[in-house]
């Protein structure tokens, strides 16, 4: 069991380190959080679920300019990781939950709590636009990096044994 938790800590550490190392792209309405590509990890191990949650919690607590990201963003990541774990039998669907859940949750948070209105978008469409921008960033991270990562790590499955 100890190995399970330490694997989770490793996932959390990599998530937080990557978010911080690439900080300017990691927060806000137009974000490509490269660390979100790690959301494919529940495909390999359930330890990734608490790992992603804690990694996101740490990154948002210490670096995010949006303090409520600490609660909303981390809860969204946990929800998405659980869904990804549930979908682990269909590899190409594994990166989908973070795109949908984060797009909806972070977009709604930016709109309702921080009043973020994307430029050049009619006011009535601001909420879907906020959600859409976050979802696009997520999709780039999860599908452009996450899916190749998943395929590569598939060949090295034994590192996930505990």
């Amino acid at each position: 069991m100890l190995r399970f938790w330490l694997q989770a800590a490793a996932v959390a550490g990599v998530y937080a380190a990557l978010t911080m190392a690439l900080a300017p792209f990691s927060y806000g309405p137009v974000q490509v959080r490269v660390s979100e590509s790690l959301t494919v990890l529940p495909y390999f191990t359930p330890a990734a679920v608490p790992g992603l949650f804690i990694g996101c919690l740490i990154s948002n607590a210490v670096m995010s300019p949006y303090p409520l990201d600490f609660i909303v963003g981390s809860a969204a990541t946990l929800g998405a990781a659980l869904l990804s774990y549930a979908l682990r039998r269909i590899p190409w669907l594994v990166p989908l939950p973070p795109v949908v859940v984060n797009g909806a949750a972070i977009g709604a948070m930016l709109y309702y709590l921080y009043g973020v209105r994307p430029p050049g978008v009619p006011t009535a469409l601001s909420l879907p636009a906020d959600m859409g921008f976050v979802a696009i960033g997520e999709a780039i991270a999860c599908y452009a990096i996450g899916l190749p990562l998943l395929k590569y790590l598939e060949r090295h499955r034994r590192i996930f044994e505990y």
């Binding site: 100890l2 190995r3 990599v14 790992g51 740490i58 303090p67």
Partner: protein, 266 residues
């Protein structure tokens, strides 16, 4: 680039705010955030601003250091401010072509900008005055009731502590891998965002494999020392709720009472 990153934004000082119990600070921060959302007019914000200035002064953290937290979202604040001014309908005060400034727009713009500024300044005081390790201890202690529901609180806190310890090592590792890849001709700085993001895959894999190796070694070291966690484990620096924490709790209750009174009376 990576070396410039400080973990969190803790500002070391010997102030009363720094010495307060992290559990109290966490709860007060959550109450503070909630209080910002029940305020409906500027009078409420005067109370909040006075409270925040008092806490900043007591914490001895230089105000410019506290305000630094606003830098990353300055553009968003300005943009939201401008949008609220020009796009809110109501009693027109000034008009030029399709642009119009309304009384309601001005009110909403200042109101939202102030809320955002107070939200960020207030909550960044928590991380400025509390060490990350103390924060995790506080979170573990606050989550104790969840243990009865089967939530592995000790394990989550242990994981958080280890992850925090991993971060500087992994940041250094990321830097090393990036330089090694660049020396082999990897290009992270040109091309479309799609291309640049994809170029990061060769960094992720060695970083990830390295982190898992560290975790394996650590697990072995902990098992060799008979770590079994949870029940009966003692702490070197146990959290104690002292008299000063009680006094701070009363002051915070006074703040909440003032906000509620303001809402009822004005």
């Amino acid at each position: 680039m990576i070396r410039d990153i400080t973990l969190g934004q803790y500002y070391p000082e010997y102030s009363i705010i720094h010495k307060l119990d992290p559990r109290l600070k966490l709860v007060v921060t959550l109450v503070y955030i909630a209080s910002l959302f029940i305020i409906e007019d500027f009078f409420g914000y005067i109370i909040v601003a006075a409270a925040i200035f008092a806490v900043i002064a007591a914490s001895r953290v230089p105000p410019r250091f506290v305000m630094r937290g606003l830098k990353p979202i300055l553009i968003i604040i300005i943009f939201t401010f401008a949008l609220n001014i020009f796009m809110t309908s109501g009693d027109v005060l000034w008009e030029y072509g399709w642009l119009h400034v309304t009384r309601q727009g001005l009110y909403t713009a200042f109101f939202m900008a102030l809320r955002l500024i107070l939200l960020i300044v207030g909550s960044s005081l928590l991380t400025l005055t509390t060490k990350p390790m103390k924060l995790t201890d506080g979170i573990e202690s606050l989550l104790t009731p969840a243990k009865k529901l089967g939530v592995p609180t000790h394990e989550l806190a242990m994981m958080m502590t280890i992850a925090l310890r991993f971060i500087p090592t992994l940041l250094e590792e990321t830097d090393k891998i990036m330089k090694a890849q660049q020396a082999r001709g990897a290009d992270f700085e040109t091309g479309s965002i799609f291309r640049r993001v994809k170029a990061l895959v060769p960094i992720l894999i060695p970083l990830f494999v390295g982190a898992f190796r560290i975790a394996q070694d650590l697990a072995m070291a902990m098992e060799a020392r008979c770590y079994r966690g949870g029940e009966g484990r003692t702490k070197l620096n146990a959290l104690k709720f002292k008299r000063r924490d009680l006094a701070a709790a009363f002051v915070s209750a006074g703040y909440v009472a003032a906000i509620i009174m303001e809402r009822i009376l004005l």
